[in-house]
């Protein structure tokens, strides 16, 4: 994985966030190099851009190098977007809306416990009963309470029947 991508993903964890930050980065760079973008960058995004460091911004230049070894800002952004799309995404199904702050925590947890370059996306599944279901590389598994109820179907049923009798 390239340094640019590693730095970009350092505090960026999930799909919506990645798309938004790519857009922010593009706007910032275009404004910085060409004064072309009129998009207002929020304080939160501005803080994130600062967190990337000056070294990160040195990867981008207005024009490509004469030797062809250095790419211009458009080419670097395009490559970054392609590299991000290539990363495998963990889909997390939840029965509730998770706040962004909790999503960041979740992202940190996933990178600490599973893969350091892991990105994820969250999808809402109201049928889930507490917990989460996961999809990874085409394999889906329900880790919620619903699955536990299904696994213990007979026990649950006999318990319910014992109440009725």
């Amino acid at each position: 994985m390239s340094n640019i991508l590693t730095t970009f993903l350092k505090e960026t964890y999930y799909q919506g966030q990645i798309s938004h930050r790519l857009q922010v980065l593009r706007s910032f760079l275009l404004k910085h190099f060409f004064n072309a973008s009129q998009v207002q960058i929020s304080q939160l995004d501005s803080d994130w851009l600062k967190s990337l460091g000056d070294d990160f911004l040195k990867n981008f230049t207005q024009q490509a190098g004469t030797s062809g070894s250095q790419l211009n800002v458009y080419q670097v952004l395009e490559k970054l977007e392609k590299d991000v799309k290539k990363l495998p995404t963990l889909t997390v199904y939840l029965p509730f809306e998770m706040p962004d702050e909790e999503k960041n925590k979740l992202g940190l947890y996933l990178r600490t416990n599973f893969k350091k370059d892991l990105i994820f996306e969250i999808k809402l599944d109201p049928d889930l009963i507490g917990g989460a279901a996961l999809s990874w590389k085409g394999v889906h598994k329900d880790y919620s309470l619903r699955e536990r109820i299904d696994q213990n179907h007979d026990k649950v049923l006999s318990s319910l029947k014992s109440f009725s009798t």
Binding site: V92, F96, M98, E102, I129, G131, A132, I149
Partner: protein, 193 residues
């Protein structure tokens, strides 16, 4: 005479000759008449004799015929009597045989009918039993399916109720704790490699 001829006139000679021929003719004629007469007599005699013989033979033939006819009639009557007797005997035997056969037939028919009725009854009973068994099995299967469906519905209702209640009753922290619990399980199972 020949010696006189040169001296006699020719007409006389011819007259004499004619006379002689006439005499000869008459003589011949008379002889023929006589022969004819005799022949007629013979024929008459023969006819008479034949008539006699025929009459005799006819009488004899009639007698013989009558006797033969009477004998033949007698033989035919005897034959007819024998035939009637034989026919009567044969008829009686036939009647007995037919009666015997009919009796056998009735006995056989009764036996077959009885066997057939028994067999049919057994088959009917067996068929009814099979039908009953199939019906019982069908009811049992249906009951099991219905119970299973009810059980599934109960669990489904429970899940739905829990889903609705837990979303409202669980706090965000509790929800998130459950998510991390799920992730810990996934980690233990090495779901993400």
């Amino acid at each position: 005479m020949i010696s006189l001829m040169p001296y006699l006139p020719l007409s006389i000679i011819f007259g004499i000759a004619a006379l002689i021929l006439l005499v000869l003719f008459l003589r011949q004629y008379l002889a023929m008449q006589d022969a004819q007469l005799k022949a007629n007599q013979i024929i008459q005699q023969a006819q008479t004799a034949a008539i006699k013989i025929t009459a005799t033979d006819k009488a004899s033939l009639e007698t013989i015929s009558r006797q033969a006819l009477a004998q033949t009639e007698q033989q035919f009557k005897t034959y007819l009597q024998e035939l009637a007797t034989a026919a009567q005997g044969s008829l009686t035997g036939r009647e007995q045989l037919i009666e015997q056969k009919i009796n056998q037939l009735f006995e056989s028919f009764e036996e077959n009918l009885s066997s057939f009725l028994t067999q049919t009854q057994q088959q009917s009973v067996k068929s009814v039993e099979l039908e009953m068994q199939a019906a019982r099995q069908l009811i049992q299967t249906y009951k099991q399916q219905q119970f299973k469906l009810i059980d599934e519905n109960i669990v489904s209702m429970l899940e739905r109720t829990l889903s609705l209640v837990l979303v409202k009753k669980l706090s965000l922290k509790e929800q998130i704790d459950l998510v991390y619990e799920s992730l810990e399980k996934a980690k233990a199972e090495k779901f993400i490699v």
